[in-house]
């Protein structure tokens, strides 16, 4: 029993079909409970009711980065071991990542307006998120531009690799370029001033919920891609016959 067995599309379809209802249920329960719980938390004495936005902002931002990392790993697996499911999973993940980045940016803008008095600031964190969004757009555009599926998988995987290096580079370059307005990580273990437990537990729940939400969307989208691929193969066979 090895993890590479799931590289077989049939096996992947069977297993993902079996676990999908559980993942979807978990995602729905965690996200809805987390968001409702978050919405009912008391106001922060400094930020007022805007603190409720954190339950969307932080999980979305976290997933935006994690999804890119997941795409990088999937691209590497495709390049090294040539498992088609891996390439399709990377393709399926990109739009989810782009939407998560967009949610992070929008909630950040709406939150920044009353707190900092501006919708947008060229702050390192904000800027690097915008750059990440650009990388997502380029990646998705490249996938949709190339017709041959295997070439598309190869080229996007190479782009993902190079893009990861440059996205990381840009992240540190913008720190050099402008000092920030954005607060530091609210949940890091080292930081002295930590979030109060009132906010922390619903936040953990929404983070888990967004993770499960991503997983369920990823499974569904990958299944869609596999079905499309199989359909194309069947149609090609029919044409030849």
């Amino acid at each position: 029993m090895s993890i590479w067995e799931y590289a077989n599309p049939v096996k992947f379809m069977r297993t993902s079909g079996a676990i999908l209802p559980w993942v979807v249920a978990g995602a729905a329960v965690c996200t809805v409970t987390g968001l409702v719980w978050g919405f009912l938390t008391p106001d922060d004495f400094r930020q007022g009711s805007t603190v409720k936005i954190v339950f969307l902002h932080v999980p979305a931002a976290m997933m935006a980065i994690n999804i890119w990392v997941m795409m990088l790993v999937a691209s590497l697996i495709w390049l090294i071991r040539r498992h088609h499911v891996s390439a399709l999973a990377a393709k399926a993940a990109a739009p989810i990542g782009a939407v998560m980045t967009l949610i992070g940016l929008i909630t950040g803008a709406v939150w920044g307006q009353p707190m900092w008095g501006t919708w947008w600031e060229w702050d390192p964190r904000l800027t690097s998120f915008l750059i990440l969004f650009l990388f997502y757009i380029g990646y998705i555009a490249l996938w949709s531009a190339i017709e041959d599926p295997d070439s598309a998988a190869d080229l996007t995987a190479v782009l993902c690799l190079v893009g990861s290096v440059f996205a990381l580079l840009s992240r540190y370059a913008v720190f050099f370029w402008n000092q920030g307005l954005h607060q530091g990580a609210s949940l890091s273990v080292q930081s002295g001033e930590r979030m109060s437990a009132v906010y922390r537990y619903p936040l953990y729940l929404t983070m888990l919920g967004f993770g499960l939400l991503f997983l369920s969307l990823l499974l569904i989208r990958t299944r869609t891609e596999i079905r499309r691929r199989r359909l194309a193969a069947l149609q090609a066979r029919e044409m030849r016959a």
Binding site: I131, L134, F135, I137, G138, A141, L142, A145, I146, S151, D154, L155, V158, L159, L161, V162, G163, V165, F166, A167, L169, S170, A173, V174, F176, W177
Partner: protein
């Protein structure tokens, strides 16, 4: 490799405007900016480094699709791929040819355009050094983008979408260096970062670009 370089340079010159077009574009951009922001020295001086770098970046971008497109159409790219010269080397030479035809003229013309935009004299040496260090990375990353999009019919727009985000670090450190030079500050830190990015790009990107070319020639 030298033969390939000579061939590419000759082709660029014969095709007309290989050298001049990028610089002309650069000149137009620098001439248009004062119309957009007003002719005041106080308005132009702070944005001059950014305008010069953006101009160089866009001029470089304009000629990128020519790196591989023509060779792909007439089949000489397939010959290159089967020749004893490793494809990585061919990519590096192509990027070098692109740099000589667009990057080098830009660098030579940049001080002149700097004067147009009221860049103070003490900022000219950092401008030259930053362009000299930064533009090879632009050409090499452009070659990577061109290699990825070579098989596409309408690759031009996609090419800029893919390549421009990769230019961000170079742009940041390049303009930062000129700005610090303008204010008389120390330019060593951005200079080292810029040099590091270019060196890393030159070392790694030929392999990625050659891999992309091999996929497109399959």
């Amino acid at each position: 490799m030298i033969a390939l370089l000579r061939r590419d340079l000759t082709l660029a010159v014969r095709a007309g405007g290989g050298f001049g077009l990028g610089v002309a574009f650069f000149l137009i951009l620098c001439a248009l900016v004062p119309f957009g922001v007003g002719p005041d020295t106080t308005a132009l001086q702070p944005i001059a480094p950014g305008i010069l770098w953006l101009g160089a970046l866009l001029a470089c971008l304009l000629s990128l699709d020519r790196i591989f497109a023509l060779d792909h159409e007439d089949g000489s790219l397939d010959l290159l791929a089967t020749s004893p010269l490793p494809l990585e080397g061919a990519v590096a030479v192509k990027a070098l040819a692109h740099w000589i035809t667009t990057g080098l003229p830009l660098i030579l013309a940049a001080p002149l355009f700097g004067i147009l935009l009221h860049l103070p004299g003490q900022a000219i040496p950092p401008l030259l050094v930053s362009l000299l260090l930064g533009t090879p990375a632009l050409s090499m990353l452009g070659a990577f983008g061109a290699a990825i999009t070579v098989g596409l019919r309408r690759g031009g727009l996609l090419l800029s979408l893919l390549v421009l985000p990769l230019y961000i670090p170079t742009l940041i450190f390049g303009t930062e260096m000129i700005r610090r030079g303008q204010e008389g500050g120390a330019t060593a830190t951005p200079l080292l970062f810029l040099a590091g990015i270019t060196a890393g790009t030159l070392a790694v990107i030929p392999f990625a670009a050659a891999a992309a070319l091999r996929v497109n020639l399959r």
